[in-house]
Amino acid sequence: MRGTRVIITAQNHKWAYHAANAMTGFATSVIGCGVEAGIEREMTADETPDGRPGVSILMFAMGSKVLMQQLETRMGQCILTCPTAAAFSGIESEDMISLGKHLRYFGDGFQTSKLIAGKRYWRIPVMDGEFLTEETTGMVRAIGGGNFLILATSQPAALAAAETAIEAMKKVANVIMPFPGGVVRSGSKVGSKYKTMFASSNDAFCPTLKGVTKSELSPDIESVMEIVIDGLTFDDIATSMKVGIEAICALGENSGVKRISAGNYGGKLGPHLFKLHDILKGGAA
């Protein structure tokens, strides 16, 4: 998996979020969306390259080609178009990929390049003034699909616990939780009875099928929510999982949460194994 970080700034945080939400929207799963993307954190004006309020976003894809193509498309459709937005590289790497390099042609010959302190930027004339973007950003190896499951006695209880976990995990750097609100309710399993589908509903964790499938659920479990994490390194994902699980545990016995589990897939899906017990002890798997 490959990842990149982009810093998006705007006149204020409201418009930085508009741009970032558009760019990271429809980016829940690499299966159907091409990339998995999300807002990593908010940035103050002091932290951004141009001294304006901003956010940082992370984007991940299976392969460099897809990442490059998706990044350019989303830049063109979501950042170039958003009032007052500007984009800058958020990560250094030996592998630099196009951020605004090809968008410059939208300037129709009126675009200007500036090389400032060793970095190249493009200024593209647009109706609201000038669109400023750095030419490239870094592409790095990354890890996707770390996950854990929240098993609870009701749907509201499972969701409330998931929300609590997400609020805590948002404070961890280098990770995103790409599904809507950071939570996925339709966790999948590998394989299907239908030949054309390689993934299908994870029936072992579907509460309405407890009696007719090889269920992982105890009788009192009425709902399961999954949190999926993508991150730059194994340790980043492990840290965010620890933070999220501990936040749920802090809710206590009366929260309705009975168990935390994870998608196992027989240990055969992907090269990285996140062992929950080890993670909670603070060690790597």
């Binding site: 390259p49 141009d50 001294g51 304006r52 500007a86 010959g109 009126f110 200007t112 390049s113 500036k114 090389l115 400032i116 302190a117 930027y121 200024r123 003034g129 000038e130 400023l132």
Partner: protein, 270 residues
């Protein structure tokens, strides 16, 4: 280690090409080796020891003392180290310089930073014509690096400049930014006539309204976001440009007589 110091010991009648006296060329050489280097001057060659008293040992830091405007090509093609000139320098200071730093505490003659590719050139006094330009006959001027002039510059500053940064705290003469290809020139003082003549691309950042010829067109007053990045990049240099903060400028584009897309940005109260 003390800086390797060259003190001019005689009044010069003809110019001397000092391009062999750089940290690159002198590295590992003894004082006697250095003294035996032949300098190009007129029809008769002179040795370094004929012209300079040599002292010190640090070949990464050269100092020129008791200098004159007849010392040309100081720092030519250097890639490392530092040169300090405690006085005036001649023409072609920093010619083809690739890296390192040159600090001239006096004035310089024409063609300073000619063909410069990188590094930092600081001139505390005034500089002559064709600052950052290319050699005669070439189609590109300065290709990179930073030049900071505390005093005034002559005519044709940045002629055919291709890349890099020139900051002039004083005035610039006529044809500032002529035939400019890219890069940035800043002038806090006044500029002369025909500013940006035949400009292709690049940015002239001016504190004061220039005299403009008819093919430079007013595009109005704007707040330009990239200026924040540009001004931040000035902060590492000891220059009055570090105090700039307003991103509000009046923008002139041209030279339209050349299908140019260069810009003159005039700072000030807008």
């Amino acid at each position: 280690m003390n800086a390797l110091t060259f003190t001019l010991k005689t009044a010069l009648q003809q110019s001397i090409n000092c391009s062999s006296l750089t940290p690159d060329n002198l590295s590992g050489k003894s004082i006697s080796d250095i003294g035996a280097i032949k300098l190009v001057t007129g029809k008769n060659g002179l040795l370094v020891c004929d012209v300079f008293e040599i002292s010190g040992s640090d070949t990464q830091h050269l100092v020129f003392k008791n200098t004159s405007s007849k010392l040309n090509y100081i720092g030519a093609n250097m890639t490392t180290g530092m040169i300090t000139i405690e006085g005036n320098a001649g023409a072609y200071l920093g010619f083809g310089m690739k890296n390192g730093e040159i600090h001239c505490k006096g004035d310089t003659a024409a063609f300073s930073a000619c063909g410069m590719r990188g590094g930092l050139l600081k001139i505390d006094g005034n500089t002559g014509d064709f600052l950052g330009a290319g050699s005669e006959g070439l189609r590109k001027g300065m290709l990179g690096g930073t030049v900071i002039v505390k005093g005034n510059a002559g005519d044709r500053t940045g002629d055919q400049m291709r890349r890099g940064l020139i900051l002039i705290e004083g005035n610039a003469g006529d044809y500032c930014g002529s035939r400019m290809i890219a890069g940035t020139i800043g002038v806090l003082g006044n500029t002369g006539a025909y500013t940006a003549f035949n400009m292709h691309r690049g940015t002239l950042l001016l504190k004061n309204q220039p005299q403009l010829h008819v093919s430079m067109h007013d595009c109005g007053t704007h707040t330009l976001p990239f200026l924040n990045l540009l001004f931040k990049s000035f902060s590492k240099y000891n220059t009055e440009f570090s105090k700039l903060s307003s991103q509000r400028v009046q923008r002139f584009v041209g030279d339209t007589a050349y299908n140019g897309n260069g810009e003159i940005l005039v700072l000030g109260k807008h």
